[in-house]
Amino acid sequence: MLDKALTGSKRYWTWIIILLGIIGAGVISYLRQFDYGLGVTGMSRDVSWGFYISQFTFLVGVAASAVMLVIPYYLHDYKKYGKIVILGEFLAIAAVTMCVLFIFVDLGQPMRVMNVILHPTPNSILFWDAMVLNGYLFINLIVGWVTLTSDRKGMPPPNWIKFFIYLSIPWAVSIHTVTAFLYAGLPGRHFWLTAVMAARFLASAFASGPALLILLCLIVRRVSKFDPGYEAIQSLGKTVTYAMFANVFLLGLEFFTAFYSQIPGHMHPFVYLYAGLEGHGKLVPLMWASSILAIVALIMLVNPNIRKKEGMLAFACVMVFISLWIDKGFGLVVGGFVPNMFERVTEYWPTLPETLITLGVWAIGFLILTVLYKIAIAIREQTASWPELH
């Protein structure tokens, strides 16, 4: 099936070349980092995780969101998702690949990465995260590939694949829960030490992932003859709406606990992020942008008349995605480190090489996504005239 990714329009190849260019810049920056060390980034003794780990965290959510298609389609027989469930699974593959790459570029000694396997350490959440992420990648590869191959042949998928499809549901929840546990079990990091961390991760995941999926569906419809379907996109819009409300609600709980209790350690990270602390406030404009985008998006999404207009839905989805990216793909990690263990403020901002490496990994993800979507779309275009399979 891979051959289908090798033929395409001029526009397709231009997009591929742009991605390859960004990847090239990322690879060159990574070689510099590999040679010099992680000192090329903006990270420091006080803020020892930065952009890489926050991108990883955000993308685990995007990957987990495939389950928002799998559950309605396979458990509730919601047929409208039949055509696009593959888009969710392929998005998961691209997102998990990015996750793994972000962990890799964050390592100080990347050549020793296999030590995680050679010296398995079950008490480390990172060990479990590596296990569940690779498992999820494997499950989605096998499910996506087998179902698409069956579709191409005009056959229903083999029965044994059902096992992996059902397995993918709890597994999707597990990847984001385990990722939340990386943070939520650390004594002394007030911002992260919260029982709702995993719940909030899942809520934000089920908003950001489907929001991206809606945008991808609209792009797919524009660049190909394959139409994901108005109703499917609208249903995804409802998922985004509910999940985004849940996310904002859970964030509100965090604010209440911190500020009603008035415990300084709990308040300080929020004060730093949203108002600035001791004259330091690099993230303040971003966090407010995130909040405003979230509120405007919710006002648009909750109103069915606006949501039903695809252009407006797309606009709201862009806002949801950016809002959650700022919140989780930046603020969440930095807020855990500021103020530091001595209640002092050291700020963090990514450097140019760090940004280029980050963009490079995103570009690799989008390259994988493009190739996989190209294959899926080519097969969907072929089978568009065929009757429903399931």
């Binding site: 010099y36 420091s44 390592l107 263990m341």
Partner: protein, 265 residues
């Protein structure tokens, strides 16, 4: 007595074989004596759980503080990179307020408020850094010391996120050009690994107390927390001490004598 050519060859062959295969070594291993080669030297200082008491009243001048840090950093090849972002430190100064956030009071005697405290790895009873390390590169020894295997560390920095005491440093760049005088007795580190205080486990093995203790003129007391007759226990039973963030249950092994004795002032 003379041996013929055939007998000579037999003898030579057998002894060569013994020499080559090292039968004596094999016998030693079978008898279980190989373990003996990693037993501590008789001179080594041992304990059930090592701990330190820092009496800040006994350290007066800034120079005395610097001498202690210098004693540690020089023998452990800790680089002096000269910027805060890349900083590596094992034992350093911090003021009262920031050493004890959450429990530091606003109204305390000036000599405490402005006195620097010495901070270092707390060698916790339940170290979060050990719990989170995905490769067992950082681990707790039976004597309570939390140490690092610099060759196994993958540089994920999970331990730095987990340490509630900010005791860990990462080598953001090659540290070797910033080590003024390399001590060949202790390994230098490479870029991309985490490091921290080891309670001088390498000195204890030779029967020496930690370098900071030796350089402190009695202000730093080192001993076995589980031995009621040890020096640290004697201090702990006579003077009121503080530990950093005891409420989070990590069980830090570094105690601070704050004040209220004849050395105050």
């Amino acid at each position: 007595m003379s041996i013929n050519r055939r007998e000579f060859l037999k003898l030579a062959g057998t002894s060569t074989l013994i020499g080559l295969t090292g039968i004596s070594a094999v016998e030693e291993i079978l008898k279980g004596n190989a373990e003996a080669s990693v037993l501590p030297s008789p001179a080594a200082l041992t304990a059930k759980r090592w701990a330190m008491v820092i009496d800040i009243n006994k350290i007066g001048t800034k120079e005395e503080y610097e001498k202690i840090t210098q004693a540690c950093h020089s023998i452990h090849n800790v680089p002096d990179i000269g910027n805060k972002k890349d900083e590596v430190k094992w034992i350093w100064q911090e003021d009262y307020e920031h050493s004890f956030p959450g429990i530091s009071d606003e109204f305390v005697p000036d000599h405490i408020k402005h006195k620097p405290f010495l901070l270092l790895c707390n060698h916790c009873a339940k170290p979060p850094c050990v719990r989170v390390c995905p490769t067992k590169a950082t681990f707790k020894r039976p004597d309570g010391i939390v140490v690092m295997d610099y060759h196994r560390c993958i540089g994920c920095r999970f331990c730095m996120a987990a340490c509630p005491y900010g005791a860990r440093s990462f080598n953001w760049r090659d540290p070797r050009p910033f080590v003024k005088e390399t001590n060949p007795e202790f390994p230098t580190r490479t870029k991309g690994v985490v490091e921290k205080c080891t309670f001088c486990s390498e000195r204890l093995a030779k029967g020496l107390k930690p370098a900071c203790v030796e350089a402190s003129n009695g202000a730093l007391i080192f001993g076995d927390l589980e031995d009621p007759n040890s020096e640290v226990r004697k201090v702990l039973s006579t003077k009121y001490t503080l530990r950093r963030k005891p409420e989070i249950g990590t069980g830090p092994s570094v105690y601070y004598v704050i004040g209220g004795n004849e050395h105050a002032g």
